[in-house]
């Protein structure tokens, strides 16, 4: 079957949000991780790097997934590719 213009746009929007969120994931995990020794200022008792690895990054991961689910579920509706009601 032939995909319409709208379908292609849906997919490229999906790729865009995937890339943005993946970039944030990378930044939080590997860039912050790489500079852990440098980021050793005190953050409410933790050194900042320790806090990021133990709590900060985890919170950001949860938010990334929550945001992706919300964004895509709305996008499905906007582009009329959503499934029948399942609630």
């Amino acid at each position: 079957m032939q995909l319409s213009e709208k379908h292609l746009e849906y997919w490229s929007k999906n790729l865009r949000i995937t890339a943005i969120l993946l970039f944030i994931w990378f930044l939080v995990t590997f860039v912050t991780g790489y500079y852990s020794r440098e980021l050793s200022f005190n953050f409410f008792g933790w050194t900042f790097a320790f806090w990021m690895a133990a709590q900060g990054s985890l919170i950001i991961y949860v938010v990334i997934i929550w945001y992706y689910a919300r964004y895509m579920n709305n996008l499905d509706r906007d582009y009329d590719v959503h499934e029948g009601e399942d609630e």
Partner: protein, 706 residues
Amino acid sequence: MAGIPEASGTGGVFSAGSHKGFKSQLKKVYTWYTGGFVTFVILLAIAEQMGLSRQWIGYVFLLATVGLYAGIGVMSRTSDAAEYYVAGRRVPALFNGMATGADWMSAASFIGMAGTLYLTGFGGLAFVMGWTGGYCLVALFLAPYLRKFGQFTIPDFLGARYGGHIPRSVGIFAAILCSFTYVVAQIYGVGLITTRLTGVPFEIGIFLGLGGILVCSFLGGMRAVTWTQVAQYIILIIAYMIPVIWLSVKQTGIPIPQIVYGKQLEKVTALEEKFLKDPKELEVRGIFKARADEASANLKGLPATFSAGKAKLGGDIEKLKADNAPADQVAAAEKAAAAYPKDEAAAKAQWTKDAGLAARAAPPLRHAEAFPGKDDAARDVSRRNFLALVFCLMVGTAALPHILMRYYTTPSVRQARESVFWSLFFIFLLYFTAPALGVLAKFDVYSFLVGSEFAKLPQWAAAWAAVDPTLLSIVDINKDGIVQLAEIAIGGDIIVLATPEIAGLPYVVSGLVAAGGLAAALSTADGLLLTIANALSHDFYYKMLDPNASTARRVTISKILLLVVALVAATVAAQKPADILFLVSAAFSLAAAAFFPALVCGIFWKRANRWGATLGMIAGLGVTFYYMATTQPWLRGVFGVTGSVADHTWWGISAISAGLWGVPLGFIVIIVVSLLTPAPNREVQELVEHVRYPNLTGDTMVTTGT
């Protein structure tokens, strides 16, 4: 058990009505269940006060929880394929999240993680980050698309997307390879916990636990496993939280350990600086160093040192006797002679062990310091390994078949996306708490155990040191009667197991923690066994050998295989294989290299074809395995690798992170080989479009398996 049989005794609890009705019914059942479980624990606590013995508390916990899981298994029994393989695809996002949480968190997460964090400080956080951040990859790259594809297993997707039996076969092989080692470790954990809880022998413990696993997955497959896992999640999270919260209240007066442990970490850091310079600590570490040096020198001088040592002891006794020394001095010299190794082999073993004391001569590690090392080069290697491990654990998480399979069970793509969120949320609750537990336990040890008198050890320390010296041993090395930090040897597992006692809680909480560990191990074992049995029955037998097999026959075969695999795994676990922990961490690297590139390319790149995927999977697995075989001590022994480890490592990366090479190589091979061979046919391209859109008008393809 209070409340539970009544609440779920209606029989039809786990069958479908409307989705909405089903969901609200589930909420009701599990709310009652949680209430019932809490009541049960409280009743048991009262019984303890009235004199119920520890042994009986153990028995009651074991029988009640395993009986409960078996009950859910019996109620959810089924022989329908969609029910058996994917729980009828109507598990709401929230509950699938809880089930995935229990499926995910194994005995290692529950019992081992906080201990690892205690022992390795910042370095242990690689596990916390790796095992949570991987869900970002699951959410962004895999879960919604696999749900739209909607078959039963991960090799199913490889088979349909790449066509032919070869990619499917590689998938089956890889799925069994990573799941089997993992399930052996879980059954081993079940044996250990059952033994601790009730005192039965290890082998019997294994088979008791196995009964609990089997009655559930055997009767009802994914359907029974799902609803049991939800129940197990609730038990394990309650069991994890209560002691930590209590410990936090005891130390700081605030019941939110996750927020207050920053302050405790500051105090721990101050204590570490004190221990680094404390003369008594230096003295003990000096004694260890001297002993280790002496043993190393003796080892080098074998066999001359053995006979010299023996002659000297003999000479001492002679001399004392000749000098008419007091009897006690002679007795002491004779005792020393008796303790001397009997022959050279014994001497070698003894001195090798003593040379290992060098580790205890090392200064205590700074808990909050990232990438410790003696110079910049060492710190650099430490940083590389930390990041490589995080990478492998993350990609491995997004490639383990027993986790990905769970996203086939939601009612829709929409709920699959939400379900990844709930999964990570429920996993997050535990992983957010584990580093707090590590620090709080460390604070307790550093400030109350260290500095106490040997005659008056804290009660929990005395008890555990008596029970199991591998978990805790405290010996007065410098004979000053006071405990120094360097005199304590602590095993990681004790942190979770002993927290209730450190916090001064009644024994019933210790039982609860053991029951939580059991729930974690059983739920993971359930999911893994299903994965292996399904790979064999569904992918190998049905798809490759006998495509005309009836549904009933497929399910029957799956059940038989499940029994066989479970028994084989239990037999292996009963041998207590030594390197089981390494094998578990190896599973992540192997899964990452085998599945992740092929799955992601299959969804995001239409041009990826059969040969690319097949060779990519083989190359990724191959290089990962090669790297492990040449750098991991146990595998080196198996394959007879010679030469030093350092010659075989690349950039100092350790064996556990071998997937760092396998994953990129997998991607490269898939891309290069696919471009060199013809593009996949029209039908495959349409399949890719089909999985990319939750609902495509005009799309007539139906991939959902029944």
